[in-house]
């Protein structure tokens, strides 16, 4: 039993899974509140990655940063998270707000349109070449932890720990704060919440913003660990994040976290033990099997319809 190999795959899977989980959280929260699948969320993530890149370039680039590396990485994260949050709020305000009471197909199409719009905007703004974070230049990737079979580079450790922190913060927000209570109320029954005096608009904007923050963080993490960012990266990541949200139970926050990690681990293990050629095939087959066995997702609950 090759432990080194196995543990390596677990680390890779958790790294990848963290990013998928963060994106999935954005999908699941917006669906929980608005019953809307925000297909443009992948692009929110992509813009976060580019924002981080932009800030890094402004601070001297990967070769010659003018501030200490730790500070630069922190600023990159903040920039990515804010850019994505602003973009997500902008989407809500301009693309989705007017369609809140429209038949569900209308915001769905709008979301698709917004997705293409943002991809093309990124193409026009940044060009089609893959840009690189070049993290190998300012972070020693051979460093990190090396305890026995466990080998994790600094960027992977950062990704996993940041994700855990963000998830803990999100859970605390949703369960312990007034805003969290309001979010839960609105997702349960929007009209009743409005009648109880909750400012539904504000809650919805906050939800989009939080989703954006998580996606932006994921974008910067992606750049640091996998280096290359380009205008279409949101498409695949968004698809996998959406899959993760559905597998975990759409509308369910712990479900999104679980789904993301599962998909990440499944990808890693299938690429390692079977073949990279069949990686996507295996992952989506798992999705199909899970959906057939539990149509509401792993942790999801069927909506109770009052008749």
């Amino acid at each position: 039993m090759n432990w080194d190999f196995l543990v390596q795959q677990v680390v890779s899977g958790l790294t990848l899974g963290s990013m998928y989980a963060l994106i999935a959280l954005g999908y699941t929260m917006v669906y929980g509140i608005l019953k809307l699948l925000n297909f443009a969320h992948g692009e929110v993530y992509m813009m976060g990655a580019f924002a981080g890149l932009g800030v890094m370039t402004a601070l001297g680039g990967p070769d010659a940063p003018i501030v200490p590396v730790a500070l630069m990485v922190l600023v990159m994260f903040l920039a990515g998270m804010s850019a994505s949050a602003v973009l997500a709020m902008g989407l809500e305000r301009f693309a989705y707000r007017r369609l809140r009471n429209a038949p569900r197909i209308a915001p769905l199409i709008t979301a698709l349109g917004a997705s293409f719009f943002l991809q093309s905007t990124a193409l026009l703004l940044f060009g089609a070449r893959r840009r690189s974070y070049d993290s190998a230049e300012f972070i020693d990737l051979r460093g990190g932890i090396h305890w026995g079979p466990l080998n994790a580079s600094p960027t992977r450790l950062l990704t996993i720990s940041t994700t855990v922190t963000l998830m803990v913060l999100l859970t605390l927000l949703v369960s312990r704060t007034r805003l969290g209570k309001a979010m839960r109320a609105v997702s349960f029954d929007r009209e009743a919440a409005a009648m109880m005096g909750i400012d539904v608009d504000r809650v919805i904007v906050a939800t989009f913003a939080i989703g954006g923050i998580l996606a932006g963080a994921a974008g910067v993490m992606f750049g640091l660990v996998y280096f290359s960012v380009y205008h279409l990266m949101g498409f695949t990541a968004g698809l996998k994040g959406f899959t993760a949200a559905v597998v975990g139970g759409i509308g369910n926050i712990p479900g999104a976290m679980l789904g993301g990690l599962l998909i990440g681990l499944a990808e890693s293990f299938s690429a390692a033990y079977v073949s990279s050629t069949f990686m996507d095939l295996i992952v989506f087959s798992i999705l199909i099997v899970v959906m057939l066995a539990r149509p509401t997702g792993l942790l999801g609950r069927a909506d109770i319809k009052k008749v």
Partner: protein, 392 residues
């Protein structure tokens, strides 16, 4: 109520239009006015005029390669016009290395009667896409970088030429280097599912196995971003052979190899000969020598660098040589026909092209399939971003 409906509908249509325009922008961006090309006027009989089209990845993932090819092509057109008193124009057609865009671009090119020949496309999969179109219209096209063997050997595209050797030579050359010079015993050959890559992977694997090397095969797609799992399987090998088209992917692969503490050496094919791939102490093969080391080409090198700046890969010079050959053929056909040549005449003239000393340091002639006679592959060691050292 009706006012709101109308406004919403208008907004929807507008945003769709903008999105469509944005998406439309993804397709070929041909700068170079078609109007400019035809301004040579009706009196073409007197002097030799016309244009050639250049097709390649001028934006997109392979833009670093395409832009260099384009700059050398422009330089070649300039110099030819200068040396021969002609006035040939250049049309740019961006393909982003995508066969679909290449195909659309090819349609536009053949419908423009002013265009007498084509430089490009760059990728083998693109040549397959445009081949039938150009063959049907008898339009000569010469690629400075498409190396898939079947393009000439199958005889499907009689108007296709290239001034670089094909993968039938690249595979064995790379295999010999890996087996003999690097002394590798286990090699992973990983392709990126493009026709260029799989063809080259096959020929290299065969040659390696003939040399007694253990070969393991895998494949990834051009959309793959994470190679961690694959790297953990590859890391104990001696060499990883990556006949990929996207240098940035190979850069990620190499970084992840280093991350997992591997000593495996990366050997890449000509697709990795780009600034995007800068893993120290890896190797890349190239179908052209480094012309900065060729005496007879120094004047051209200096002229180019004065106008376009420094160049670092070996993709540019073959574009120069190819453009030069094409324009020579066009002028020849023009003179023979006493004015405006037909496209078939140019194809004939290409088969007879005989350049004594091209920018690549040797003679340039085409064999009956359209391959250049006597071409070979060169191996370079990567020392850093854009820095290479010739190994053979």
């Amino acid at each position: 109520m009706k006012k709101h409906y109308l406004a919403a509908l208008l907004a929807l249509v507008l945003s769709l239009a903008i999105a469509a325009a944005g998406c439309g922008g993804d397709d070929e961006e041909s700068s170079g006015t078609t109007g400019g090309g035809t301004s040579s006027g009706p009196a073409q009989a007197a002097s030799c005029t016309g244009s050639i089209a250049a097709m390649g990845p001028y934006t997109g993932d392979a833009a670093s390669i395409g832009q260099e090819q384009l700059d050398f092509t422009k330089y070649a057109v300039e110099k030819f016009n200068e040396d021969n008193g002609t006035d040939f124009k250049l049309e740019e057609v961006d393909t982003q290395l995508d066969p679909a865009q290449a195909s659309t671009g090819a349609q536009r090119v053949v419908s423009n009667d002013d265009i007498l020949g084509v430089l490009g496309p760059a990728g083998s999969q693109e040549v397959d896409a445009v081949g039938p179109i150009f063959t049907r219209e008898n339009l000569a096209f010469i690629s400075p970088s498409a190396t898939d063997t079947k393009l000439t050997e199958s005889g499907k595209y009689p108007t296709f030429f290239r001034d670089v050797p094909n993968d039938a030579a690249q595979g064995p050359t790379d295999a010999e280097f890996i087996a003999d010079t690097l002394g590798a015993k286990t090699v992973w050959v990983i392709d990126d599912q493009s026709s260029y890559s799989t063809g080259l992977a096959e020929s290299t694997t065969t040659a390696l196995e003939d040399a007694g090397v253990t070969v393991k095969r895998e494949s990834i797609s051009q959309k793959t971003t994470d190679f961690s799992a694959l790297v953990s399987r590859v890391k104990d090998a001696d060499v990883a052979f990556l006949p990929w088209q996207l240098g940035s992917q190979a850069q990620t692969f190499g970084n992840q190899l280093a991350e997992q503490g591997s000593d495996a050496v990366i050997v890449g094919s000509d697709g990795l000969f780009t600034e995007d791939f800068s893993i120290k102490d890896s190797y890349v093969s190239s179908f052209a020598p480094d012309i900065k080391g060729i005496e007879s080409s120094q004047e051209l090198v200096q002229g180019y660098e004065a106008e376009f700046g420094k160049f670092s890969s070996t993709f540019g010079p073959p574009a120069y040589a190819a453009t030069n050959a094409l324009l020579t053929a066009i002028k020849q056909a023009c003179d023979d026909a006493g004015g405006s040549p037909a496209r078939e005449d140019i194809v004939d003239a290409m088969t007879n092209v005989d350049i004594e000393q091209s920018i690549l340091g040797g003679p340039l002639k085409f064999d009956e399939n359209g391959d250049p006679e006597g071409a070979k592959f060169y191996i370079f060691k990567v020392l850093g971003k854009g820095k290479y050292e010739l190994q053979s």
